[in-house]
């Protein structure tokens, strides 16, 4: 993907030793850096486990299980990739709220109006896309700063989700039955059981997103618009539509996540996407960790997915390493914060070391 190459060509042209090259790639290619980190994390926890420092084996079975919690964040991080790459401070704070609201819509379709499954899923995703389209219209056409528009819709959507069913979750039998969407599928040993929706939802969506971002003409204009929208306009790109579409994609993926969460929770919760710290901040964090540059025009689906996997398995390990009370979930916070800041620092070092143009 030379189009997001940031290392001066002269750099590559200059003769350099293998070791130096490896170091350079590890430091400048976010995906590689993350992959390395991922291996380190897994190996490290295996070692801890072997040394008896974990309260339970950190084995493939457990890692397979952990994937369940990865799916929403991976998808939402990809959603953030679209909007952040689209540039001019693109960001979507409303994804969590969209998950809540679209999820409630899904709940009504399946659980109250008793639509069949497929139409309901489509319906849910469409609702998500529409909510995203509102953001897109505000940002791309009315030209609100993305942070402001999505902050506003975050508030609005969350409150609508709560009002929609008088604060109550929807968990009628048809909704409860949806849990089968996210059941584990077993494989012959030594393969671990893996949540079904990793195959039915995460991988297809990720592949689709990759094609759109990295292999389609839309992806090209997305990067162009995100890098320099004035130049993009002169290069006959329709800037507004490209940005708009990015937000629609974000909403659409949030709709998909809504389906997943309703399945996972076996109920449509009006606060699904906003309880605790909400889903938006973690998703943005994962996206950024995955190498999506806040100033736009830079970022890859691959990086984001690896980042999501890294965070998931790191968190899973933390729970076994710090069994006492809330220690586990606390150290998850610390780890996430440190990984984020340190990897960003590494980038700075890399850029200072290898030079970054404009």
């Amino acid at each position: 993907m030379t189009e997001i190459e940031t290392v001066p060509a002269a750099e590559r042209a200059r003769g350099e030793g293998i070791a130096a090259r490896v170091l350079r790639i590890a430091l400048t290619e976010r995906v590689v850096l993350l992959a390395v980190l991922l291996v380190v994390v897994v190996v490290w926890f295996r070692v801890l486990g072997a040394g008896g420092y974990l309260v339970a084996p950190y084995d493939v079975r457990y890692l397979g299980n952990a994937l369940e919690s990865m799916v929403p964040f991976a998808l939402l991080a990809v959603a953030e990739l679209f909007v952040i790459v689209s540039g001019r401070g693109g960001i979507d704070l409303s994804v969590g709220a969209i998950v809540s609201l679209a999820g409630m819509a899904f709940g009504f379709m399946v659980g109250v109006w008793e639509w069949p499954l497929l139409p309901s899923i489509v319906g849910c995703i469409v609702v998500g896309a529409l909510l995203g389209a509102v953001n897109g219209a505000l940002v791309a056409y009315v030209r609100f700063p993305a942070l402001i528009a999505t902050l506003a819709t975050y508030y609005a959507y969350s409150s609508l989700a709560l009002i929609s069913n008088g604060n109550a979750p929807i968990s009628t039998p048809p909704v409860v039955a949806l849990h089968s969407l996210t059941r584990n599928v077993n494989f012959p040993e030594p393969l671990p059981p893996v949540p079904l929706h990793v195959f039915t939802i995460l991988l297809p969506c990720a592949l689709l997103a990759w094609v759109v971002v990295s292999r389609s003409t839309y992806g090209r204009s997305l990067y162009a618009v995100g890098t320099n929208d004035v130049a993009a306009a002169y290069a006959t790109q329709s800037v507004a539509r490209t940005r708009f579409t990015a937000f629609v994609m974000s909403g659409l993926l949030s709709g998909v996540v809504a389906v997943v969460t309703v399945g996972q929770f076996a109920s449509a919760r009006p606060d699904a996407g906003i309880v605790g710290n909400g889903m938006a901040l973690p998703a943005i964090t994962v996206a950024v960790l995955g190498g999506v540059a806040i100033q736009g025009g830079i970022g890859r689906v691959g990086g984001v997915l690896v980042a999501a996997l890294l965070v998931t398995w790191l968190n899973a390990g933390m729970l076994l390493a710090f069994p006492e009370g809330a220690e586990g979930s606390r150290y998850q916070l610390l780890a996430l914060g440190l990984v984020l800041v340190l990897s960003a620092l590494l980038n700075t070092v890399a850029l200072r070391r290898y030079g970054r143009l404009s």
């Binding site: 486990g49 008896g52 420092y53 974990l54 309260v55 339970a56 084996p57 084995d59 079975r61 457990y62 299980n65 952990a66 369940e68 919690s69 929403p72 709560l162 604060n167 109550a168 979750p169 968990s171 909704v175 409860v176 849990h179 584990n184 996972q264 929770f265 076996a266 109920s267 919760r269 009006p270 606060d271 309880v275 605790g276 710290n277 968190n315 899973a316 729970l319 076994l320 069994p323 006492e324 009370g325 809330a326 586990g328 979930s329 606390r330 916070l333």
Partner: protein
């Protein structure tokens, strides 16, 4: 399955003692810490291992991850106070499939495979106690409002239903004028309580529905200088209510003996693990000599709620 020698806290499956794991809704609020204390006490006396693990936010997703880690740990008994009963049901199913005995405590997951629910007090009991305590202070009449917490919290909502009914039936001259949701946020509940007092100048009562808003409404009354005009009761933990009980801004805190609830949970866990069936009434310990078991709903009932006032507040160190 691989063993892990002396795995920190020796969680690992089936060896030495019975391990009972309790997952609270969230960590770091006195309520569940007290349950933990009681649980540990119980574990000591009953010779079982007590594991206590929770998230720092009341977030169903986070809770599921924790439960997964405990399933992975192959504990013998898993006890959960679910943030979201519906979403917990399937997870409990997975635990059961992994051969773990599952139960709920403090909050139930009705349509789940749990084999027992340790119920601190019936919604009926709590709702009535709250209403009675408040209207006693209000002189059996007047307008009052409820500051609840999470909009979706199942058991809070069930108590509120009872309060509505009891008020209507028992206190014709009393009226609930508003119900607001402040989240699990004390500062927010203070603000909203003040808003309510401003919105209804003739308001004479406030209920803090959870351990965050109970002290919250009392603080609001104190700051508004309306002690004696506006009475509050709430579902608060003794130490956090103490100062307000003493300055009179709170007439009473409704709760139950949380440590005993923890103890009972541990005891029930042991029973399940050893396959001993529950009796109609069970003698658990000195304080809990007659805990009733309802076979149909598979519920252990701790007993009647406590009314905590200046007299008895110092008996509780949480």
């Amino acid at each position: 399955t691989q063993q892990n020698p002396g795995g920190g806290g020796g969680g690992g499956g089936g060896e030495d003692q019975v391990s009972v794991a309790f997952v609270p809704k969230l960590q770091g609020i006195p309520y569940f810490e007290a349950m933990n204390t009681g649980g540990q006490k119980g574990a000591q006396e009953l010779g079982i291992e007590w594991i206590y693990r929770g998230s720092s936010t009341a977030d169903p997703g986070a809770q599921t991850e924790i439960v997964n880690s405990l399933i992975q740990q192959r504990v013998d008994v898993l006890v959960v106070a679910p943030n979201d009963p519906d979403s917990m049901a399937p997870v409990l199913q997975e635990a059961a499939d992994a051969g773990i005995k599952v139960m709920t405590s403090d909050t139930d997951a009705p349509n789940s495979v749990r084999e027992a629910f340790v119920n601190q007090a019936s919604p009926e009991g709590v709702g009535t106690a709250l209403t009675d305590a408040l209207l006693e202070a209000m002189g059996g009449q007047g307008k009052y409002a409820i500051v609840s917490c999470g909009q979706t919290a199942a058991n809070l909502n069930s108590w509120i239903e009872v309060q509505k009914r009891v008020t209507a039936e028992k206190y014709p001259n009393a009226e609930i004028v508003d119900i607001v949701y402040a989240g699990e946020d004390e500062a927010q509940s203070v603000t909203m309580a003040k808003d309510l007092m401003n919105a209804h100048p003739d308001l004479t009562g406030l209920v803090g529905e959870c351990t965050a808003s109970a002290p919250g409404v009392a603080k609001a009354v104190t700051e508004a200088g309306k002690i004696g005009q506006v009475f509050t009761v709430g579902l608060g933990t003794p130490q956090s209510m103490k100062q307000y009980l003493e300055n009179g801004s709170s007439s009473a805190a409704i709760l139950w003996d949380v440590e005993q609830l923890g103890y009972l949970t541990a005891w029930a866990g042991k029973q399940l693990a050893s396959g001993t069936p529950f009796q109609a009434t069970n003698n658990v310990n000195a304080e809990l000599s007659a805990v009733t078991w309802d076979e149909s709903s598979k519920e252990l009932l701790l007993g009647d709620p406590l009314r905590i006032t200046t007299e008895n507040v110092d008996q509780y160190d949480y």
